[in-house]
């Protein structure tokens, strides 16, 4: 089977879904798709290049904050410049963080990315910029219009749904192309053996920095969508819990495949939704962190290769 058949079928299915979805489930699909974009952006770092970042939420948060702050008070801003602005700002911070943190390796890299994300968190949390610890509201959603014709108004549910879906398809396709490109192969080479790549004449630092900036920009895209969907931002978007959660998604799904990132984002969001649901779990719903934590521990213990590995395990028995 060709590798693109399943993703294309999934995208078509998602495009047809709104016909049968309730408003609640449609919201849930939008949320999952946004987190899938976010998880995919981190997958480029962790899965393709082997760079484990624990500060990825900074770029999500910056994208979201720029979206809200650049909109201002009067009417919806044009998505045509708002989206590039959000992604650009995230990419800019990614260039700064990447340039410094890529000087380090392994565990250092994990800690340094976390610390830089925390720095961004404090900028939004402690200063008046962006409403302090309360965050700010996005009163008017982005639009695209020429003259009087409104082509896109993200305040409308279907517009938001298809924009998010388009973003997911774009991100998935882009990363699929990157993985098959010369650039992607170089990243894979760096992941396996950086020494050897350097000996082969690659400037590995440049490649890693480029991957870091692209991943940052894509996380900014997710941030833009999240701010538009929720209509508000707050510093928790940049918190290390969020960075941990997205890393969790891709580990949960299975590192090293785009599909894994999407499945992980879906599984994580649904698990969280399930554990928070009072209708299903009653008083236990108030303690969702406990049930989520214990579930993750069980996953780590039982599924070292993530949910993607489950299929192989079921099919291949002991060889999984």
């Amino acid at each position: 089977m060709r590798p693109w058949i399943v993703p294309v079928a999934a995208a078509l299915l998602l495009a047809a879904l709104p016909a049968v979805l309730t408003p609640y489930t449609q919201d849930l699909v939008v949320k999952i798709a946004i987190y899938a974009v976010f998880a995919l952006s981190l997958e480029l770092l962790v899965g393709a290049a082997g760079l484990v970042s624990l500060g990825h939420a900074a770029f999500l948060g910056i994208g979201a904050y720029v979206t809200v702050m650049a909109t201002g008070d009067g009417g919806g801003a044009s998505a045509l410049w708002l989206l590039p602005a959000a992604m650009g700002a995230a990419a800019l911070y990614a260039a700064f963080v990447g340039a410094l943190s890529l000087r380090t390796k392994g565990v250092y890299f994990i800690m340094v990315t976390l610390a830089f994300a925390q720095m961004a968190y404090f900028v939004f949390h402690d200063t008046k910029l962006g409403g302090g610890s309360d965050g700010i509201f996005l009163y008017s959603k982005p639009v695209i219009q020429f003259g009087q014709t409104v082509l896109l108004d993200l305040d409308r549910k279907p517009d938001l749904y298809y924009t998010v879906l388009a973003a997911l398809v774009f991100t998935y396709a882009l990363l699929g192309l990157i993985n098959r490109s010369r650039f992607g192969h170089a990243l894979a080479g760096i992941r396996v053996n950086e020494q050897r790549m350097r000996a082969a004449g690659y400037t590995t630092y440049g490649y890693k920095l480029a991957a870091f900036v692209i991943a940052g920009a894509l996380a900014g895209l997710a941030g833009f969508l999240l701010a538009v969907k929720d209509g508000a931002v707050n510093p928790e978007l940049l918190s290390w819990h969020e960075s941990g959660a997205v890393l969790l998604m891709i580990i949960l799904g299975g590192i090293g495949s785009l599909r894994g990132a999407v499945i992980g984002a879906m599984a994580f969001t649904l698990l969280k939704e399930l554990f928070q649901s009072e209708a299903l779990l009653g008083p236990l719903a108030g303690h969702w962190q406990l049930t989520l934590g214990l579930t993750i521990i069980a996953f780590v213990a039982l599924l070292p290769k993530g949910l993607i590995g489950l299929k192989a395990r079921l099919a291949g028995g002991a060889h999984a």
Partner: protein
């Protein structure tokens, strides 16, 4: 800023730095020796602080006895935790450790909220350490902070002694540099790890207990300490106890004086410090010492 104020701030900086050192040394010890990235290390600090709060009514002014009881409890807890959750993680990738310890944070935070609630609590310093001594005309410096600094210095010296001068320390250092060789010599490395881990937990919890009367106990206190400790470990150099000490003091000063001079932006100071040091020395200030 007059001289007395300056002196008080310096003392505060040293005291905060020393406290950070206790937590960070446990973190770097566990990583340096066992190769485990322990995101839950901040939770042990939080557990210590809450132990100080929960145990307080039972011990009254028997403050040192209370600390001792807390440390013993924390060490036993660490020993059991290593046995239950960490012992099978050593063969796994760092990512799996990150995931597991992140999950443990969620579990600990929720258990904390179920057992003692989400309120902010104050913890009393013992009455024999109440008050302070005069510094200059208007300033006075609390005795409890002096006690905290002295306790940290004593513990730091004890840690140095154990790692560098005892048979256990010798095994620890050997285990860090060549695991298989140590196992080959017939040393039970599993048990050695369990002891190191329990020790790291006890250090973090003790730091939390000492800090409780100074900073009160509150939800999420573990997370903020953990991240500052990461900064300390990155600045100092992973696996270097001396590096951790130098970096802790540096961070203590930057944080304390940042709050004095740039109140609103003070949270960012230590991260800028880290950025500067990374540009200058990506491997941290010191090389690993074991």
């Amino acid at each position: 800023m007059d001289f007395a104020t300056f002196l008080v701030q310096c003392l505060n900086a040293v005291q905060y730095g020393l406290l950070l050192f206790l937590v960070a040394s446990g973190l770097t010890l566990i990583f340096g020796i066992m190769g485990v990235i322990n995101l839950a290390h901040g939770s042990f600090y939080m557990i210590g602080a809450y132990l100080a709060f929960v145990l307080a009514p039972y011990f009254g002014d028997w403050y040192l006895t209370k600390l001792l009881a807390g440390v013993v409890l924390a060490a036993v807890f660490g020993y059991l935790l290593e046995w239950a959750f960490f012992s099978f993680l050593y063969q796994r990738e760092h990512l799996q450790q990150v995931l597991m310890t992140y999950a443990l944070i969620l579990v600990f935070e929720e258990l904390r909220s179920m057992l003692v609630g989400n309120d902010v609590h104050g913890v009393q310093a013992p009455s024999w350490l109440a008050g302070g001594f005069k510094l200059g005309e208007l300033m006075s410096y609390p005795w409890y902070r002096v006690f905290a600094s002295v306790a940290c210095i004593v513990l730091a010296l004890a840690l140095y002694g154990v790692v560098n001068r005892t048979r256990l320390g010798m095994m620890i250092r050997a285990g860090a540099s060549n695991r298989d060789m140590v196992r080959g010599l017939g040393i039970d490395i599993q048990r050695l790890y369990r002891i190191v881990f329990a020790g790291g937990v006890a250090l973090a919890a003790l730091a939390g207990m000492i800090a409780a009367p100074l900073s009160s106990v509150y939800p999420g206190m573990g997370g903020s300490v953990l991240i500052i400790c990461f900064v300390v470990v990155v600045i100092g150099g992973i696996g270097s106890i001396t590096g951790a000490l130098v970096a802790s003091l540096l961070v203590g000063f930057v944080d304390t004086f940042g709050k004095v001079f740039f109140a609103e932006y003070s949270g960012i100071g230590v991260y800028l410090l880290m950025a500067v040091i990374l540009v200058w020395r990506p491997e941290g200030l010191m090389r690993r010492s074991f």
